[in-house]
């Protein structure tokens, strides 16, 4: 079966929009982190799909995706470490209580 590029790009855009929506509306830091992962994965998916369909002769997009996945993992590790620190100091991960710095 031959699927066109659109079959992959539309889910990718849906993932991106879900990620942005979750980033804005979620109140829990872990949920926000999951939304961020969705956005990063949507970018990775884009790269792979463009590479596979538009430029099947080269590997640039695929290699880029591999590096992007590694970087996303590093980002998650640091974010989790900071979330643990926050949890230790205020006892939960609710962003409505992380509001000391403003104005």
């Amino acid at each position: 079966m031959d699927l066109s590029m659109l079959w992959y790009l539309v889910p990718s855009v849906i993932m991106l929009v879900c990620g942005i929506y979750g980033f804005i509306t979620r109140k829990n830091l872990i949920a926000i982190l999951i939304s961020l992962e969705l956005m990063l994965n949507s970018a990775d998916l884009n790269f792979v799909v463009f590479n596979r369909y538009l430029f099947p002769g080269s590997m640039d997009g695929m290699v880029f995706t591999l590096f992007a996945i590694a970087i996303a993992a590093a980002e998650t590790a640091i974010a989790i470490a900071i979330i643990i620190n926050i949890y230790r100091s205020i006892g939960n991960t609710d962003i409505t209580e992380i509001n000391k710095l403003k104005y």
Binding site: L16, G19, F23, L29, I32, L33, L36, M39, L40, S42, A43, D44, N46, F47, F50, N51, L54, F55, G57, S58, D60, G61, V63, F64, F67, A68, I71, A74, E75, I78, A79, A81, I82, I83, N85, I86, S89, I90, I98, K100, L101, K102
Partner: protein, 491 residues
């Protein structure tokens, strides 16, 4: 693979070498040895900085053109290095305080790693290397922002920084994936420029460019993407705040210029001229207006640095060698002026714990030299004539108006009006220090020796950079001698 290619990455090798030495020393030395870690790192780094200044750039592309080492990138690296050296001097007391001393090795290591990432970012001519540089510059910074482990504010600043940083890099990656779709299968800047120049404008390319501007604009804290700035600057330790505000911003500005002129130069007037036009006006104005109402000095400097970022990006609107040269000069002057201001804020915070602008009332009675240095820094940031900030603003305005388009003349006019607004709030600090009749709330104290040296370096820079033509000439020559090599300006 030809390993001799690594020999062309001299600045990176120097920073990596210092990093390895500091790391090994920090890991294997005993308690006694750790005491000399601060002077050791500072001296090593000073030597490295001098080496980067005097060793001429190899002027070649390596790894198939992914990485470039020419006079312009070498010059911006030397400028960043001077900034980091001053930050090291400034932080010498803080890293040896009881709370931080046990982790001071990590402080130096993380700073050197982020510096390495920024080097890759300014030298990259391929988006893969650029992204790796950008991320290795921004991720360790989150750890640095969270460095004050026992202070809740530090964690809050760090979580705000890391979340917005990841969000913006996700947006940047999505933008780059669309750019990739237009690029003919290659992520080299030069190849993308070729394909974009041949093809015609499309809506998707516009979206891609907007995403890329948003992603890099976050690093520069341009205005719609600046909301993290004030909170992170306030919560982070002051040494890190000064690092964030100058070094990270300077490298991102240079990388922005390279990407947008070299890669997307062909669609300058179609696509990103008006985007950047709006962003710069918003950045300068919003930064200024919000700075007026700040009472906390670190938040005040945060909004001041937002508006300064707008002035730096004016250089990118010029899209020529003059623009790049004056942007580099502006970054250099901004490094000394802003670090000078932060050095004063830092010493006062360390010695008395006071951060509010009201606490600075009558400062000249108790600490005349600190007030003097702060005054010079504020004059330079505001652009008052004999100081360096005036000349950097003049040069950047000249470069923008050199292309003779009325729209850019209007942009410079708006920037000029904003300079006058900025004069008001910079002088508020000066007024508090010198004119306010109140008795000083901050007692007399002796500044630590290293911090004094750093402060005097900044003051010397503020006074002499504008008057001595060598610095601007250095930037200009570096850009001119890289021009043929870079094939930037084939618009």
């Amino acid at each position: 693979m030809d390993y001799s290619q690594f020999g062309s990455m001299i600045p990176e090798l120097i920073v990596l070498g210092i990093f390895m030495l500091v790391f090994l020393f920090d890991t294997f030395s005993n308690e006694k040895g750790k005491r000399i870690l601060t002077p050791l790192t500072t001296i090593l780094f000073a030597l490295g900085t001098i080496a980067i200044w005097i060793v001429p750039a190899s002027c070649e592309e390596v790894f198939g053109g992914m990485y470039i080492n020419d006079n312009a990138t070498n010059a911006i690296k030397a400028i960043l290095n001077v900034g980091v050296f001053i930050v090291f001097l400034q932080s010498s007391k803080w890293v040896n305080s009881d709370e931080v001393a046990i982790r001071k090795g990590e402080f130096y290591e993380l700073i050197l790693v982020t510096l390495f990432g920024m080097y890759l970012m300014v030298s990259a001519r391929h988006f893969l290397l650029f992204i790796i540089g950008l991320e290795s510059a921004s991720l360790p910074l989150a750890a640095l922002v969270a460095f004050n482990k026992r202070h809740y504010e530090s964690h809050e600043a760090a979580i705000k920084y890391i979340m917005t940083a990841v969000f913006s890099s996700a947006i940047l990656l999505v933008g780059l994936s669309f750019v990739y779709a237009f690029s003919g299968g290659s992520l080299y800047f030069s190849d993308i420029a070729l394909y974009i120049g041949q093809g015609e404008m499309s809506g998707l390319l516009l979206i891609a460019l907007a995403f890329v501007i948003a992603g890099i604009g976050f690093k520069l804290s341009l205005v719609p993407f600046h909301l993290w700035t004030a909170d992170v600057y306030e919560g982070a330790p002051t040494a890190i705040t000064s690092y964030l505000s100058v070094i990270s911003k300077g490298s991102a500005a240079f990388a922005f210029f390279v990407i947008f002129v070299q890669c997307f130069g062909a669609v300058y007037s179609d696509a990103w001229e008006w985007m950047m036009y709006a962003v710069i006006i918003a950045t300068i104005t919003v930064g200024n207006l919000f700075a007026i109402r700040q009472k906390n000095m670190k938040r005040f400097m945060a909004f001041s640095s937002v508006s300064q970022a707008g002035y730096i990006m004016l250089g990118a609107m010029a899209v020529n060698g003059l623009g790049l040269a004056s942007m580099m000069f502006y970054i250099f002057v901004y490094v000394v002026s802003n670090l000078g201001a932060f050095a004063v804020i830092n010493t006062i915070e360390e010695n008395t714990g006071k951060l509010s602008m009201d606490d600075y009332n009558g400062l000249h009675k108790s600490n005349p030299w600190l007030s003097f240095a702060m005054t010079l820094a504020m004059f330079s940031l505001a652009g008052i004539p004999p100081f360096a900030g005036f000349f950097s603003k003049i040069l950047i305005f000249t470069s923008v108006t050199s292309s003779n388009s009325w729209a850019l003349y209007m942009l410079v006019l708006i920037a000029l009006i904003n300079t006058i607004i900025s004069l008001y709030y910079y002088l508020l600090v000066v007024k508090a220090m010198w004119i306010s009749p109140e008795e000083p709330k901050i007692g007399t104290f002796e500044t630590e020796r290293c911090q004094k040296v750093g402060l005097w370096l900044c003051v010397a820079g503020i006074v002499f950079f504008g008057l001595v033509p060598y610095i601007y000439q250095y930037c200009y020559d570096a850009v001119q001698s890289s021009l043929g090599f870079l094939t930037f300006f084939n618009l």
